[in-house]
Amino acid sequence: MHKQLSDLINRNVTGANAVAFLAADKKNDSSITVEASHIFKVVNFLKNNSENSWNSLHCISGVDYMDHMEVCYMLTNYDPNNNKGVLILKAKLTDRVNPNIDSIVNLFLAANFQEREVYDMFGIKFNNHPDLRRILCPDDWEGWPLRKDYVAQKYYQGIEVYPDNKMNMEDREYIVRQEMIKKAQAAKAQ
């Protein structure tokens, strides 16, 4: 299914450069990766074509792979007679300093909150979004929490974020234990 669909996208959206990743077995999900700059056109095509259309957006998820970030659009087709499951559509963003991608709110209103969440967690800016604010974190929070290189700010409005005396001792012991295990393994390897 993903192979035909990526061919269909390539035929109809010039420059989309859709590449299908086909999972080897049922333990993984297949996906389609497209050019980030063409995401609006691709989703527009997927929504409005007559051959293989998807009528709803299930969710937008972001993943930080250190060298690049991915925005995953989960499209689905709510039609009792034609259930096509979930299509994972991905767009890669290589710029970590100022990542931006086109918003698809004008196609699916579900994207409004979902894109705000991705912006909140990864700092990915969605161009043409009507109301791009943080959604789960406070408006004046610093940093992008779900990035892998995130370090929490020290003070938030004069309150210490991780006060030493409030930190869960078991967590701290866990960290110490993990470090000890790592050291032991390194010593063993030598």
């Binding site: 998820s61 259930n83 974190c137």
Partner: protein
């Protein structure tokens, strides 16, 4: 397409034209964060013109517990208690979805008895959750008695769960590969006795609330979310079915053993009001209770003794890859997007797609032009749990 949350120049509602000279400006009213009708800590900024809502802007995040960030630092089994706390009124369904995602990645075969018992517990949980929705919804509309009726029967389910799992609300009962504990025959007999009682009780609820003239006046034709709205906003569960779409993952994408079971998908039929309004959404839930009872009875017939835990390695190490698993939970479709790295004991990324989050985003769409009291009815009818919205 016009966007409804762009509040640059608020458009004044056109109702009550004759009182035009009385209007001066819109009044901003905060509903919440602590408000009985928001079922948790949700703040809705309402711009009102006398009694009429011009705009509603939901502010979520008051219960944000960084679950997705935590999950990246905890091993796969340790996440289950965190998953419980997403939708704390339907914790079993949350656990099952998470366990199903991992089992699919591991390729674990879950024993038949475990799968049947999962269906049993999750359908019981669905009844408990819908009872809560029924009780609190009536409470929102000013009827106190149904709340007590609903809690009486919800309590019976919680007692059963307490015996089986040791906890009343947050169970940590469905484990990866199977279940933590088996049900005894005596407990199963009590479940079937409960089903008989519940079926009678559900009829009583219809007399008490559903067909009550005042209740119908308050909910029918109020807060209409039609099918196009539902599709563009990605609504699911009772909201989508209340709008008339016959869509249920248990039937349309049967996971586990649901394909063996005989049950119907209730949809909004507009006996009162129009399809997609508060009354129809409420009615879908009440009809689902009856269908859940049907499923539970079939489970008890099918149950045979057997193991309840599949073969799962002691230290979970998943193959590299990603998976997106969705299940039908009481409030809609819950999904996990799980990304793993080779030989890591923790997920690389765990994204929760929560149904209530999308339903909250529909509020600005339905609010304009409603009375404040009707808006309370609308918020209640989508049955939000803030633990799941904020994660």
């Amino acid at each position: 397409m016009q966007t409804r949350w762009d509040i640059g120049e608020p458009e004044k509602p056109t109702i009550n034209q004759d009182t035009e000279q009385l209007k001066s400006e819109l009044l901003v009213l905060n509903m919440g964060p602590q408000h009985p009708a928001t079922h948790g800590v949700l703040r809705i900024e309402i711009w009102t013109d006398s009694e009429i809502v011009a705009h509603a802007i939901p502010h979520v995040g008051y219960l944000h517990r960084c679950m997705e960030k935590h999950a990246e630092n905890i091993d796969f089994r340790g996440i289950i208690p965190f998953v419980d706390r997403l939708d704390y009124l339907a914790a079993m369904n949350m656990e099952w979805t998470y366990a199903a995602a991992l089992e699919k990645m591991l390729g674990t075969e879950v024993p038949r008895r475990a799968e049947l018992l999962r269906i049993l517990t999750c359908e019981l949980q669905r009844i408990a959750s819908h009872l809560m929705a029924f009780g609190t919804y009536a409470l929102d509309l000013g009827a106190f008695t149904p709340f007590l009726y609903a809690f009486d029967y919800r309590e019976k389910i919680l007692r059963l769960f307490e015996e089986v799992s040791g906890a009343r609300l947050l169970y940590n009962y469905i484990w990866i590969g199977g279940l933590w504990n088996d049900w005894t025959n005596e407990q199963l007999e009590r479940v079937s006795a409960f089903c008989d009682d519940m079926e009678e009780e559900a009829k009583k609820y219809h007399e008490l609330v559903s067909m009550n003239k005042i209740f119908i006046e308050r909910t029918a034709n109020v807060g209409v979310m039609n099918i196009d709205d539902c599709l563009t906003y990605g609504a699911s569960g009772p909201v989508l079915r209340g709008a008339g779409m016959k869509w249920d993952l248990r039937k349309n994408e049967p996971y586990s053993l649901y394909s063996e079971f005989d049950f119907d998908i209730p949809v909004g039929e507009a006996e009162h009001g129009v399809v997609g309004d508060c009354w129809n959404r409420y009615m879908v839930r009440m009809k689902e209770v009856v269908q859940s009872i049907r499923i539970i009875r079939q489970v008890i017939e099918k149950l045979e003794p057997g193991p309840i835990m599949g073969k799962v390695p002691k230290v979970l190490k998943l193959p590299e890859g990603e998976i997106y698993v969705r299940h039908e939970c009481p409030r809609g479709e819950l999904a996990f997007h799980l990304v793993t790295k080779q030989d890591e004991k923790m997920p690389y990324r765990l994204k929760v797609k929560s149904p209530c989050f999308t339903h909250v985003s529909m509020l600005p769409h339905v609010a304009p032009g409603q009375m404040i009291a009707d808006f309370v009815a609308t918020v209640g009818s989508i049955d939000i749990v803030l633990g799941e919205v904020d994660r």
